[in-house]
Amino acid sequence: MATLEMSAGGVAKATSPSALQRKISQTLLRALTGVAALFSFAIIFIMLFFLLVYAYPAIRFNGWGFFTSPIWNIGNQYGSGVATRNGFSGAPGAEFGALVFIFGSVLSALLTMLVSVPLALMVGLALVYRIPRQLRPIANALVELMAGIPSVVYGLWGLVVLVPWISNALAPWVTSHLGFIPFLGGPTGSGTGLIASVFILSLMVIPIMVATTRDVILAQSNAIFEASMALGSTSWQAMTRAVLPSVRSGIVASIMLAFGRAIGETMAVLMVCGSAINAFPSNIFSPVNTIAAVIVSQLESALTDATGMAQRSLAELACTLFIITLLINVIARAMMRGADRREGRGHA
């Protein structure tokens, strides 16, 4: 090395350059990765911090009513004077209650999970064990393609295809045949609403869960499947009783990821949810609204609020969504750690 440098550069070096250089480059690398790691944490807290600061007047103005009131009213924008509570002012008559939206977000995300988790697990298993080998690349490509379609496309498809179908075919059939079951009967409206949101959200999250289910099963060796088969199980039993439990933590992670996506999805839901305000759904066809969707749909009118309280209340909504998502992640991680401990696996 030294001779090579001498002949090439004509500069004689008595000591090897590597010792110092290694030290510098190692320190540099450690610093850079440290900053990068810190950055990912910092960005979450910085975002939450500034959102909270911006929303603070609304938090004081709305009090606990924000979480308990179903009424969202930006107040009289043309009247005189302001309403002041806890030292912060909004338009007269203004009341910002998020209960309808929180309820709508959680309900539509939960129902979406109810529909999509079993389906996604089935499709994921089928991709590994059932679909003929020659068709697998095509099936896999389709799944990845579905996961990559922009949400506005799903929304538009929902609006022009799904919603009319619900309104003209599904809803009349369900109410007349199954209407005696709670939440399946009653007024059906225009087709936009809870069930349309759930269908669209399911279409959007299923590919994510299918892909992860498939990948965690493939990442595990075939040993578990074969062990079960060798004990005289059917392949269905091997899949559901041996393979799926052995990849549980991966599945739980993907379900949580999907739940996060479903509860935060904005555009597609906004287009098909029916934008309910001040009313809870009475059945699966009722209009609903979600935190994410209402932030968009209320933004324009909120910007006209001279007191600014409507905008700040939207920021409070955003904080709420942020914290719900964060909580779901924390809970999911805790659940996974618990499962890993019970099964004696180390956790990454």
């Binding site: 080998r133 040993a223 578990i224 499947f225 074969e226 062990a227 079960s228 088969m229 060798a230 004990l231 005289g232 199980s233 059917t234 392949s235 039993q237 009783r241 041996a242 439990p245 052995s246 019970r342 099964e343 004696g344 696996r345």
Partner: protein, 262 residues
Amino acid sequence: MIVTPQESAISTATKIETKNLEIFYGKFHAIKNANLAVGENSVMALIGPSGCGKSTFLRALNRMHDLTPGARVEGQVLLDGTNIYASGIDPVTVRHRIGMVFQRPNPFPKTIFENVVYGPKIHGLHNRKKLLEICERSLRGAALWDEVKDRLDRSALDLSGGQQQRLCIARCLAVDPEVILMDEPASALDPIATSKIEDLIDELKKLYTVVIVTHSMQQAARISDFTAFFLMGELIETAPTKSIFTTPRDKRTEDYITGRYG
């Protein structure tokens, strides 16, 4: 196959037998016309260099190739005289009667108890008292009971590799098979764990018929009654273990046991 007087003297009723067995992976001809008979309550060792097809042969005996895309089996495998590849035979039932222990211990990520009773449970037994009985009997049969009896509700993955392998044997015993196939069951284990497995096999043959793949000729010599030598997909020679290592009939067998192939 020439039957020596010695062989016929100690052979018992045939438990499992292959007739003109051919196995293909796509176009690759992995096993060529193999004929092998294994007597009841005996241990048959399959030996041969890596890639000779001994594991492939073994997996044909409980229809595991059904699960391998592109694998094809021709010929017959007779269990008590019935061809397990005949149409109308359910492979699930076959695997119920012919258990298998794999090269690497592959316990389920469940408790020790749940591992052992997995088979009985999927076959519809849910009576907890009966399951506990089966669990104890199987673990005793696999010489593991004394080591784990106080921690049946602990994860199987906490066990050592050797214990995990005996757990897999117990899990196999729990479904009460007639034949046990073992695919190099000790190759991933240390010498002490290996000798425990070998002692166990000696016990198992009192109740079961055992077919074991091994890459160790010493192991075959220690544990088996009969040995079959495979080379490049062909079954070269089958003989009582004592005679195959002292007086092999085939030149290729002799070359292998004297160390002339890997």
